[in-house]
Symmetry: C2
């Protein structure tokens, strides 16, 4: 069946979806929406879609990829047609034909995630598809300093959701910082919001949200630097918590070969 | 059961909800979210909630009201507690105790709806909770001129979804215009967007979306002024179409008595 190979660059707002991966037909997911349109646009052509990485419920992407495998070649304008028929919150940015050596998962070289948040008890309902609101006051300086603890090669077992004991937990985080949010701006946002920027080759399920949950706990004074240091040395259990999904965005995804 | 009466001013982003009114337990609605928290916050106190008007699936509100009827008095801080427990996209702005003469539906004096839209084939996935994208080029000037046809007292049967023949269709629209959108601004919005502003005492189900659908058809050159004029004289059937819900926002709702 796998005869023709296409790479699609995409962006989407994940707020009303239950993640990337298809589930049952009555659960709205990104893949379900894409496959549904491909079913219509590629009659009598067997196909399969595979993402560079799965994203969770409510999580958005600014730059993501999926690969399309088909039995017969597809027409050049397929990306435009997909864009036309897909809902307004899912966008195809580019389509490229790739050869059979291309493996979307093997060829992912780095990912950058953003976690947008604000510390306020005030509500900003129109901002909720983009950021999480932490209700307690946060010591931002402490949180910013602690970010550097994550940079480098560490054992991220404490930042892996439901870890299997046979898994390799050593991973490298290339960049980790909390900065003021100047990426997403709107007059219906709180006056100040922040973004946790994390960059690396690959992440475990819920890793960024567990890192955010840990930093938030530190910001509330419920954790210390040394506890975070210890948590990065191996099996210390989860010390933070999984921060809510709607602040998370896959900001960038780089492939070693983008053709 | 109806012994104590409270008025709540609210705002919400409707994008991931199936409208205001409660349906079955597995369908997310605004009322379901509110009632669920009230159930928890008002144990052993029978209650009922009633909105100033229902909103459809995906429709948002900047200022809306609901009335709460209870058997026993509630504590003063109930609004704060509700805000704390409600999801980030539903906000309680104010709570006031009202007397038994207050009837939320009878006391609604005017409503202002906004329908946000842009004419572009480009996709702006992060803007989709706030506006609708019309893919064909639109003659904005024609649409702006046609807005005045709706102002005044007309027979709005053609702008009523599934009209019953015994219904009174004469209604007054106080204001109707299309202006550039300077209400909602974000760096992830298209460079230009517009808003259809409609103000009046009350509207039929889907009336604003049918008016928008009609104006859009005119903007595409598929309808004439005189067809719109005729449509406002009585039973001419639906001449436009129901525009998508996610551009619609209940911008303001005024009560004759807000205490």
């Amino acid at each position: 069946m796998k005869k023709f190979f296409y790479l699609f660059e995409t962006a989407y707002l994940g707020y009303r979806y239950h993640g990337w991966q298809k589930q049952t037909e009555d659960v709205k997911t990104i893949q379900q929406q894409i496959d549904r349109q491909l079913n219509y646009l590629l009659p009598e052509n067997k196909f399969k879609t595979l993402p560079a990485s799965r994203t969770d419920k409510m999580v958005s992407a600014k730059r993501h990829f999926f690969q399309l495998y088909t039995e017969k070649p597809v027409e050049n304008e397929l990306d435009k047609k997909l864009n036309y028929f897909l809902p307004d919150d899912i966008q195809i940015l580019k389509m490229t034909e790739v050869d059979r050596d291309f493996q979307i998962i093997g060829h992912t070289s780095s990912k950058e995630y953003h976690y947008y948040f604000a510390a306020t008890q005030e509500k900003y309902p129109y901002a909720s598809p983009f950021m999480t609101f932490f209700k307690d006051p946060l010591n931002l300086e402490d949180m910013q300093k602690a970010c550097s603890l994550f940079v480098g090669e560490h054992n991220f077992k404490s930042y892996c959701y439901k870890p299997h004991s046979d898994k390799q937990f050593m991973r490298v985080v290339d960049e980790c910082e909390i900065i003021e949010n100047n990426y997403l701006k709107a007059n219906f946002f709180p006056p100040k919001s922040y973004v946790l920027r994390v960059k690396g080759k690959g992440f475990f399920r819920h890793q960024i949200r567990l890192m955010m949950g840990t930093l938030e706990k530190l910001g509330r004074g419920e954790l210390t630097y040394s506890e975070i240091e210890t948590s990065l040395k191996g099996d210390q259990g989860i010390i933070g918590y999984v921060a809510p999904p709607h602040g998370l965005q896959l900001y960038d995804c780089r492939l070693t070969r983008e053709e």
